[in-house]
C-alpha cells in the first residue's frame, strides 16, 4: 500500500526527470538566452540546429493572449452565474441551471476543439471577415486568437462558477443579515459585503481557471492556428506553448535534434508556470478558508 501511495511521488519524479534531462540536452545544443528571450519562432525541419530560431516569447505571448480572451469570457459569465445561483435563484432553478453549466466541464476538449474549428471559426469569419455582416475585413481565416479564446472561455465557465458558488455559499449568513439590517438592498449587500468577503477565494478560483487555460491543448491545436507571432490583433492566428509541443513532437524530426528537444523545454516552461499558478491558487483558497471555520 505504501508502494501504491508512492506512485504519486514516482510520477512527479518521472515528469521532472524526463523534462529536466531532455531540457538540459536541448540547452547543450541551443543557447538558453536565445530560447528565453528570442522573439522569433522559426524551426527548420531540414537540417539540424543552426538555421532554427527557437524563441519562446511569441509562444508565451500567444498562450497569454488566448488565456486572457478566455478569462474575459469566463470570468464575467461564471461569476455572475455563481452570484445569481447562490444568492437569487430558487432551489428549482438552481437544480436545473447548476448541472447544466457543469456539463460544460465534462465535455472532452477534443469536442471543443472541433467546435472551434468548424463552427465558431467560420461563424466569426462570417461576422468579421471579408463580405461579412459587419462589412469589415478583419479576420482572414477561421483559426484565430478570438476563436480559441471564446471556446476556451466556454469551457472555463463552470470552473469559475462552481468554485465561486461554493465560496460565496461559505460566507456566513450573519454578514448578509447585518447588511440587510442596515438597510442595504440585496445587490448592495452582494457587492459591498459578500463579494469582498469571498474575494480571496474567487481569485483562487480564477487562478485555477487560468492555469487550466494555459495548459489547454486541443482547443488551441485545432482553433488557434500554427503561426507564431507577436501581435495584438485578436483576429490573427497565433500559436501557444502546448500547440507547439504537439507539433514539434509529432513531426518526423529526429528525437536528438534541437527542433524536437525544444518541446521538452517548452513542457518544462508549461509545467513550472501551471505549478506556480496552482500553488498560489491553493494557498489563497486555503488561507481564506480558515477565516470562518
Amino acid at each position: 500500500m505504501i508502494a501504491a501511495a508512492s506512485i504519486a511521488i514516482l510520477t512527479t519524479i518521472g515528469i521532472v526527470l524526463s523534462l529536466v534531462f531532455n531540457t538540459v540536452e536541448f540547452f547543450r545544443l541551443y543557447n538558453a538566452w536565445d530560447f528565453f528571450f528570442g522573439v522569433e519562432w522559426a524551426p527548420s525541419f531540414s537540417g539540424r540546429g543552426g538555421a532554427s530560431e527557437l524563441g519562446v516569447l511569441p509562444l508565451l505571448w500567444g498562450t497569454l493572449y488566448i488565456s486572457i480572451v478566455a478569462l474575459a469570457v469566463a470570468i464575467p459569465i461564471g461569476l455572475f452565474s455563481a452570484i445569481y445561483l447562490s444568492e437569487y435563484a430558487s432551489p428549482r432553478v438552481r437544480a436545473i441551471a447548476k448541472p447544466a453549466l457543469e456539463v460544460l466541464a465534462g465535455i472532452p476538449t477534443i469536442v471543443y476543439g472541433l467546435f472551434a474549428l468548424l463552427t465558431v471559426g467560420p461563424l466569426l469569419v462570417s461576422v468579421f471577415g471579408e463580405g461579412g455582416y459587419l462589412g469589415v475585413d478583419w479576420q482572414g481565416g477561421g483559426r484565430a486568437v478570438l476563436t480559441a479564446g471564446i471556446v476556451m472561455g466556454m469551457m472555463l465557465i463552470p470552473f469559475v462558477s462552481s468554485l465561486s458558488d461554493d465560496i460565496i455559499n461559505a460566507v456566513p449568513q450573519a454578514m448578509r443579515d447585518g447588511s440587510y439590517g442596515l438597510g442595504a438592498t440585496q445587490s448592495e449587500t452582494i457587492r459591498q459585503v459578500v463579494l469582498p468577503a469571498a474575494l480571496p477565494g474567487i481569485v483562487g478560483a480564477i487562478l485555477l481557471a487560468a492555469s487550466r487555460a494555459i495548459g489547454e491543448t486541443m482547443i488551441v491545436v485545432l482553433g488557434a492556428g500554427a503561426a507564431a507571432r507577436l501581435s495584438l490583433n485578436p483576429f490573427e492566428a497565433m500559436t501557444t506553448v502546448t500547440a507547439k509541443i504537439v507539433s514539434q513532437l509529432t513531426g518526423d524530426s529526429d528525437f536528438a535534434s534541437p527542433e524536437a528537444l525544444v518541446a521538452f523545454a517548452l513542457g518544462m516552461t508549461l509545467f513550472v508556470l501551471t505549478l506556480g499558478l496552482n500553488v498560489i491558487a491553493l494557498y489563497i483558497v486555503r488561507k481564506y478558508r480558515e477565516q470562518y471555520d
Binding site: M1, A4, A5, I7, A8, I9, T11, T12, G14, I15, S18, L19, N22, P76, I77, L79, F80, S81, Y84, L85, Y88, A97, A100, L101, V103, G106, I107, P108, T109, I110, V111, G113, L114, F115, L118, T119, M154, T185, Q186, S187, E188, I214, G215, E216, T217, M218, V221, L222, I245, V246, L249, T250, F264, G267, L270, F271, T274, L275, N278, V279
Partner: protein
C-alpha cells in the same frame, strides 16, 4: 464628540412619504434589478453556449450515420461473366455490364439518362471491383437476379445531405454538375436512397481520399483496450493508496509529501503527462509506439489523482463508529478496514472510478504525443494480447485525425465520432449517478 451638537442643524428634513419613492430609492431599486438581470443573462449565455454546442454536434454529426446507397437489381449471366473474366481490364468490364443494366432499368421506368462510363464512376464509385469480388465468392448466383446495395461516392453522399449543392460545387474529376441530373433521376425512381451506415460504427479508418468508407469501430476497440489497462491499474493502485493514506499512514513528512504531490498532479496539464509517457515509456522503456498499452499507462497516471481524491472522500464518509465496533469485537485493523470499511465505501469508490474513466476516455492531448495520431487503423487487432500491443488509434485521437485531414468529407465523420464518444461518456456518467443514487447512505 463636541461636533455632534452642531451638525444636526444642517438641512431641514424634506417632507416625504414612505409610499412615494424618491429619486435615490428609485435609483437603488433600478440598480438592484440591473444586477439581478446580469446574473440571469450570464446563466442564459452559459446555457445558450451549451445548446449551440449540442445543436451543432447533432446537426453536423448525424449525416455520418447515414449513407447514400444505390440499390439495383442486377443479373449477370454466365456469358457476361466469362466475357468479363477474359478481358484485360476485368473490373471495367463488370462496371460496363452493370451500367448498361442500370440504363435499361431506367428506361423501363421511362427515364432517359445521358451518362457515360466516367459519369457513372463519378456517381457510383468503382463498382466493378465489388461486383467481381461478389461473383468470385458466389459463382452460383450467376444468372440469378441479385439486389445490390452499393455505396455512392462521397460527393453524391454530400449532395444528398446538403453539404454539396448545385451552387457551391465546381466541376471536378470527382463530380460534375451534369452528373447531378443523373443523380436526381436516380433519386426519383428510388434507386439512390439513404441507408443507415453500419460501416461507420463497425468499420476501420480509411485512407485520406475516402471519407465515405471511414469508420470508428477499430478505434473504439483501441479505446476499450486502453480503458481496460486504466481500470485494472488505477482501481487497485488508487484504492490501496487511499486506504494507506486514510487509514494507516502516520502523520509525517513522507505522507505530507505524498499528499502535496497528489493534489499537484491533479492540476498538471494533460499534455505534460504525454511528454512523460513519451520520455519514460517509449524513449526509455522502448514500449511499442501507438500501442493501447502505452496509452493506458499514461492515462492511468493521469487519472490516479482523481480516483485517489474521490476514494479518500468516500472512505472518510464511513463513520468512525463502524471501525470502532469492528475493533471492539476483536477484529484486527486490517480486518476492520477490509471487511467493514471498504465494502461500505465501495459504491462511492466505483462512482469515482467511473467518472475518472470517463475523463480518461475523452482525453486527447497525451495520446497525440505517444503517436496515436496519423496512424491509420485499417483493421481490428487480431487477438486479445495484440489488442494491447499492436498499434491502434483511440476514439478522440481518431476524431482529431479526421479533423486534421484536408477533405471536408471527414469533418462529418469527426462530428459523428464525437456523437459516439459522447454517448459512451453519457452512459458512464448515468451509470455513476445510478450507482450513487442506489447505494448512497447517509450516516
Amino acid at each position: 464628540m463636541t461636533d455632534a451638537s452642531v451638525t444636526p442643524t444642517a438641512a431641514p428634513k424634506p417632507n416625504t412619504s414612505l409610499h412615494q419613492t424618491d429619486a435615490r430609492t428609485r435609483k437603488r431599486n433600478a440598480a438592484e434589478k440591473r444586477f439581478k438581470a446580469y446574473g440571469i443573462a450570464a446563466i442564459l449565455v452559459g446555457v445558450t453556449f451549451l445548446v449551440i454546442l449540442a445543436v451543432s454536434i447533432i446537426r453536423s454529426g448525424l449525416p455520418a450515420f447515414t449513407q447514400t446507397v444505390i440499390s439495383v437489381p442486377f443479373t449477370l449471366t454466365q456469358e457476361q461473366f466469362d466475357d468479363a473474366e477474359s478481358q484485360l481490364f476485368k473490373t471495367k468490364a463488370y462496371s460496363g455490364h452493370f451500367n448498361s443494366a442500370l440504363v435499361e432499368t431506367l428506361k423501363a421506368e421511362g427515364l432517359e439518362v445521358s451518362a457515360d462510363a466516367k459519369a457513372f464512376e463519378r456517381i457510383l464509385g468503382k463498382t466493378g471491383g465489388t461486383l467481381r469480388e461478389f461473383y468470385a465468392e458466389n459463382p452460383d448466383k450467376l444468372g440469378q437476379e441479385v439486389d445490390f446495395e452499393l455505396s455512392a461516392s462521397s460527393r453524391v453522399d454530400g449532395y444528398m445531405n446538403g453539404r454539396v449543392t448545385r451552387e457551391n460545387m465546381e466541376d471536378s474529376r470527382f463530380l460534375e454538375k451534369a452528373d447531378l441530373d443523373t443523380v436526381d433521376a436516380l433519386i426519383e425512381v428510388g434507386i439512390i436512397k439513404e441507408a443507415f451506415n453500419w460501416n461507420f460504427i463497425t468499420g476501420a479508418d480509411s485512407g485520406v481520399d475516402n471519407p465515405g468508407g471511414a469508420g470508428i469501430g477499430a478505434s473504439v476497440v483501441g479505446s476499450f483496450f486502453m480503458m481496460l489497462v486504466v481500470l485494472f491499474l488505477s482501481l487497485p493502485i488508487g484504492v490501496a493508496a487511499s486506504i494507506y493514506l486514510e487509514e494507516f499512514a502516520p502523520q509525517n513528512k513522507f505522507t505530507d509529501l505524498i499528499e502535496v504531490n497528489i493534489s499537484n498532479l491533479a492540476a498538471v496539464p494533460s499534455i505534460v503527462f504525454g511528454i512523460l509517457g513519451l520520455a519514460v515509456f517509449i524513449q526509455f522503456m522502448h514500449l511499442p509506439q501507438s500501442a493501447p498499452l502505452v496509452g493506458g499507462l499514461v492515462l492511468t497516471l493521469m487519472t490516479l489523482p482523481t480516483i485517489i481524491i474521490s476514494t479518500r472522500a468516500s472512505l472518510k464518509a464511513v463513520p468512525p463508529s463502524i471501525r470502532d465496533a469492528a475493533l471492539g469485537v476483536g477484529a484486527s485493523k486490517m480486518q476492520a478496514v477490509f471487511h467493514h470499511v471498504l465494502p461500505l465505501a465501495m459504491p462511492g469508490i466505483l462512482t469515482g472510478t467511473i467518472i475518472g474513466l470517463a475523463q480518461a476516455l475523452g482525453e486527447t492531448a497525451p495520446l497525440l504525443l505517444i503517436g496515436m495520431v496519423g496512424f491509420v487503423a485499417r483493421g481490428y487487432p487480431d487477438g486479445f494480447i495484440a489488442g494491447f500491443t499492436e498499434p491502434n488509434s483511440a476514439m478522440p485521437a481518431q476524431i482529431y485525425t479526421w479533423a486534421a485531414r484536408a477533405d471536408v468529407g471527414f469533418y462529418e465523420k469527426a462530428w459523428g465520432g464525437i456523437i459516439i464518444l459522447l454517448l459512451f461518456l453519457l452512459t458512464m456518467n448515468i451509470l455513476a449517478v445510478i450507482l450513487r443514487r442506489r447505494f448512497e447512505r447517509r450516516w
